[in-house]
């Protein structure tokens, strides 16, 4: 359930505060890098949590970027 909650908050800030897609993409990337470091140090469980949070960011950020491209076309 925690991920639904994070998703809702993320979408709220990203869309209702009219942020750009980078608002989701940059944190997603940072979370990915952190998770990768945790994997290297053998902290699989912590790394997986960060990767999951990162995935939430990509799931919001990439469609958001797509919408930006489509709107820009207009």
């Amino acid at each position: 359930m925690i991920y639904y909650f994070i998703l809702a908050i993320w979408i709220f800030f990203s869309w209702f505060l009219k942020k750009r897609s980078t608002f989701s993409l940059y944190p997603a990337f940072v979370l990915f890098v952190l998770a990768a470091l945790f994997v290297l140090f053998g902290e699989r469980s912590l790394a997986e949590t960060f990767m999951r949070l990162s995935l939430v960011g990509w799931l919001i950020g990439i469609p958001h970027a797509l919408i930006e491209v489509v709107n820009k076309k207009d």
């Binding site: 998703l7 990915f32 890098v33 699989r44 990509w58 799931l59 970027a65 930006e68 489509v70 820009k72």
Partner: protein
């Protein structure tokens, strides 16, 4: 450098790879893919019909999609090309199609990319660890063809939708038709369409114009239309199978939504961690998780090094970096969306949002084909990642000074080439943890001994109207100990043209028959009655299998048994294959029966072992009595449903329930094996039978073949219970108190009168005087041995820990069911001799749980001897027979000894159909024929008609579309 150099490089690399894989001149084979390249014409022959007579017969259903593939390869073999050359050519084509597909896809999406950077996409697509495990190591041909056509599918669809050119839809369907093998899997058909629909959605979203959206939908509809027309032949079989009773029976018997969900969850936990998916890795194969045993061979250990972890995660990092950097480009976002969607789906029901996957999985039963999401959706990850990676490398290099670009490029491409590519270049990709593939010099290489060819020829020379049964008989998996052995699914249909039963599998009716065959071989001297019902003329004994690896029976004990079995005679020996002829055999491919005996659902083939069952009697079920004529029914056999087992100190009782529709007089029979075991113990008088809780005081039991008739009882209609109670003695000779100490750290007790077909209640009390733990093992003669260690069946019962409360003896007990192939078993108590301990164990008992086969039989006294008609038949192909009936007077039963399928039809010359079709003899097709005189009947498997029509439509459509495309090409050229 010019593109032709890089395209030549792709050809060169593919040629080098297949040369490395096949230079020894051996075919490769394993898993469900079997060894088709040993004799390609066998699969070509099987997949051209809607029905195959292999095993007990079965519908070929979706495998017909692979027919063009096999027919072309079989043609090459008939021209004289060896199997390994054909396999090498096939692998070469698949590598080339995949390589060129991803190369041109990358160039189409990112035209600015130089050819050498596009080569990064090719190498990554070929060598990434997902392709390594799911495509090449998994070694399934439909996985390989899907992997090959996926990039070109994306390319053609993208190009068609972008350029608004309908011709691309035609190119796509023609291209798919060349690789129709892919469609022999519902999952890959769905995935291919999911990819196309994904592109359609992205394009509709991006276009934002109703007119363009309508065009895109038209394009998509055209694709579906021509796909349907060109693939009509196998689509008929797919829909026929999906709507058939066999599928619903198979699903209801062998699969449950709950079971599938459990599988999904386990596989998601095992393979669906995002940290592993972003390393493009099968976590269990590479041994990344401690919770699950490493499934890959020891060479994968190298991939656990931090340097390689860093390298694989860096590639994902590059992909994410390019998505952010070029987020204003539609192509980047298209691939980015595909990458993230594939990631989301491949993780299955793992968080985040795993419940959404579960919701669809549970509510749409068809989606359950994705119960291994990693294996299916995972293949989309390298597809999306490869062009993105190439673009990332291109963009990254541009950030550097020109002098640094070449070294950095070389570092990246050589890293992919050597780190991911090493298992390919070394041939290790075709090895596994299981013998013989754990020997890296052998791997998946297979050399079938020449005596198989001789045996096949000899069987063919004996006629084409029988099948044979091979012993030892196990489950689907088999390991052959040949010079270069084979481990995978039993390949009886490739090794032999004669229909045979060499393994058991999850096919309704078939599995219930086959699971009892080995037991009956050892239990009854009338085994020929069973082989007659199955139309089996020969029993084949094979001693070239690794029976221990597969927990099968020792071939030597089958040999001894065959020597003692009446009515069987050894007639040939070819290499390690022996053939024993059933001297009572007569052709029962199609035969005429006299009377029907109604048998309840739980019935099984052992019912033929009653002497009171006539040679021409036919058991039937699945049709109401009122649909049959009373005078054709001679009896009823009722198998009560077992409800509970109860054990106490020396008695074993089994409770059964049954519902009688009619009152009447019933005989109660027990299968003799139960009595034999008791007779050996001189405890025959201790059997007590209760009906409706009242003890039955029967007369001296009377033998009826392998059954014993306890006598008759009058029963009303309604619900009844039967309880069979017997005394069971302790089968181990153990001391009153066993003192397990450091000096005597192991004790072993054999189970006397051991039978692998019963379960055992094992009990003992223990007391730790000091020490931490001891081990209890149930050792069986057929336990498999790996690296010198026995792999015992009940590891969960193994270690008993000292919990610190040692004032009294504690009790341990469990029910253990041995392998049906075991010949002896023992209880072993042991502890580590290096640790000081003393443990007292007392009351060690192993008590048989006898689950007697009970049945109630009702005979109809009014039956008279019938004069049966003369019969002869012509077999046109596995799905069509013509039967000639001569001199029919009374109603009779026609039996086709092929696996029951409601789509078999019996048609008279006047076009009318025999409507009374039922399950005969527990597996076969039976019809009640109520017609007199001389006449003909056509027995036909209906989907064959659809297949014939489908083939015509497909060939005509393919040719028309092909001619149209060629015509258009020349018209354009002229212009």
């Amino acid at each position: 450098m010019r593109p032709v150099f890089f395209i030549t490089t792709i050809f060169f690399l593919a040629t080098t790879l297949v040369t490395i894989w096949f230079y020894e001149g051996d075919i490769l084979g394993t898993a469900e893919a079997k060894i088709p390249f040993y004799k390609l014409e066998r699969f070509a022959d099987i997949t051209q019909w809607a029905w195959t007579d292999y095993a007990l017969g079965n519908s070929t259903a979706l495998t017909t999609a692979s027919f063009p593939f096999w027919i072309v390869l079989a043609y090459l073999q008939n021209l004289g090309l060896p199997g390994f050359i054909i396999q090498a050519i096939l692998f070469w084509i698949l590598l080339i199609v995949a390589g060129l597909g991803i190369y041109f896809l990358t160039k189409e999406l990112f035209p600015e990319i130089e050819c050498h950077n596009a080569l990064v996409a090719v190498l990554f697509y070929w060598f990434n660890p997902i392709s390594l495990v799911v495509v090449w190591n998994r070694f399934l041909y439909n996985h390989m063809t899907f992997f090959a056509i996926l990039p070109a599918t994306l390319l053609l669809t993208y190009k068609g939708m972008k350029s608004k050119n309908y011709m691309l839809a035609l190119y796509t369907v023609l291209f798919w038709a060349l690789f129709s093998y892919t469609f022999s899997s519902y999952a890959f058909i769905s995935l291919l369409w999911i990819t196309v629909i994904f592109l359609l959605i992205v394009f509709i979203t991006a276009e934002k114009s109703l007119k363009k959206a309508v065009w895109l939908i038209k394009y998509f509809s055209l694709l579906i239309l021509f796909f349907t027309l060109i693939n009509f032949w196998w689509l008929t079989q797919a829909f026929s199978f999906l709507s058939s009773k066999s599928l619903s029976e198979k699903i209801s018997i062998f699969f449950t939504a709950g079971g599938n969900l459990q599988t999904l969850t386990i596989l998601s936990q095992k393979l669906g961690n995002i940290i592993d998916l972003l390393r493009f890795s099968h976590a269990a194969f590479y041994g990344f998780t401690k919770e699950f045993t490493q499934e890959g061979p020891t060479w994968v250990d190298a991939y656990q090094s931090p340097l390689l972890i860093l390298f694989s995660l860096s590639l994902s990092g590059l992909i994410f970096w390019i998505i952010i950097k070029l987020r204003s480009r539609l192509e980047i976002l298209l691939l980015g969306s595909l990458f993230i969607s594939a990631l989301f789906l491949a993780k299955g029901d793992n968080p985040p949002f795993g419940r959404l996957f579960q919701l669809v999985f549970v509510n749409i039963p068809f989606f359950q084909i994705f119960r291994n999401p990693f294996e299916k959706f995972g293949l989309l990850l390298p597809l999306a990642a490869s062009p993105l990676l190439a673009m990332a490398v291109h963009t990254l290099l541009e950030l550097f000074n020109k002098n640094f670009r070449s070294p950095i490029y070389l570092f990246i491409i050589l890293s992919i080439f050597f780190t991911f590519g090493y298992p390919y270049w070394s041939g290790l990709v075709f090895t596994s943890v299981f013998p013989p593939a754990d020997n890296y010099n052998v791997g998946y290489k297979v050399k079938v001994p020449p005596y198989y060819q001789e045996a096949d020829e000899w069987l063919k020379s004996q006629g084409n109207n029988f099948r044979f049964i091979g012993f030892p008989l196990g489950e689907e998996g088999i390991t052959y100990q040949w010079e270069k052995g084979y481990s995978g699914v039993e390949s009886g249909e490739i090794l032999f043209s004669t229909p045979n039963i060499l393994f058991n599998t999850t096919i309704p009716y078939y599995s219930l028959i086959v699971e009892r065959l080995e037991e009956l071989l050892f239990r009854t001297n009338e085994f020929s009655r069973i082989t007659n019902v199955l139309n089996a003329k020969y029993v084949m004994l094979r001693s070239d299998i690794d029976y221990r690896e597969r927990e099968m029976r020792n071939p030597q004990s089958v040999l001894v048994r065959m020597g003692n079995l009446p009515k069987f005679k050894k007639v040939n020996q070819l290499g390690k294959l022996e053939f024993w002829e059933n001297m009572d055999w007569k052709d029962r491919t199609v035969y005429v029966g006299d009377y029907l005996i109604n048998v309840s659902q739980q019935g099984n083939i052992s019912a033929f072992l009653m002497d009171s069952i006539g040679d021409q009697n036919v058991f039937y079920s699945g049709i109401s009595d009122s649909n049959l004529q009373k005078e054709t029914i001679s009896g009823l056999i009722f198998y009560p449903e077992k409800i509970t087992d109860l054990q106490n100190d020396n008695r074993s009782s089994t409770n059964y329930k049954f519902i009688l529709r009619e009152q009447g007089r019933y005989s109660l029979l027990l299968f003799k094996r139960f009595l034999i075991s008791l007779a050996n113990d001189h405890e025959k008088e201790n059997i007590k039978v209760y009906i409706d809780n009242k003890p039955l005081d029967f007369q001296e039991p009377v033998e009826d073949g392998d059954f014993v008739n306890y006598g008759d009882v009058e029963l009303e209609s309604g619900v009844h219970t039967v309880i069979v109670e017997s005394s069971e003695k302790n089968l181990v000779e153990a001391p009153e108190i066993l003192n397990l100490t450091t000096s005597q750290h192991k004790a072993m007790f054999n189970i006397e009168n051991f039978s692998p077909f019963d379960s055992y209640l094992i009990r003992f009390d223990f007391l730790f005087k000091y020490g931490t733990a001891f081990r209890f093992a149930f050792e069986q003669s057929s336990d498999s041995v790996r690296d010198g260690q026995r792999i015992q069946k009940y590891p969960y019962f193994n270690v008993i820990q000292n919990d610190g409360y040692n004032s009294n003896f504690k009790h341990a007990q469990g029910v253990l069911t041995p392998y049906r192939s075991a010949e002896s078993a023992a209880l072993i108590f042991s502890s580590d001799p290096l640790i000081s301990f003393e443990i007292l164990i007392k009351d060690i008992k192993a008590q048989k749980i006898s689950r007697p086969e009970v049945l109630l039989k009702q005979s109809v006294s009014s039956v008279k001897i019938k004069k049966l008609p003369q019969i002869s038949y012509t077999k046109y192909n596995p799905s069509k027979y013509k039967i000639f009936i001569k001199g029919a007077k009374d109603p009779f039963i026609l039996v086709l000894s092929e696996l029951f399928n409601s789509k078999w039809e019996a048609k008279f010359s006047d076009g009318s159909i025999a409507e009374k079709h039922f399950l005969a003899n527990f597996y076969a097709n039976g019809w009640l024929i109520n017609k007199s005189g001389d006449f003909e009947i056509i027995l036909e498997f209906i989907p064959q008609k659809l297949l014939d029509v489908g083939k015509t439509i497909s060939v005509v459509s393919f040719m028309l579309v092909g001619l149209f495309v060629i015509g258009q090409y020349f018209r354009k050229k002229r212009k």
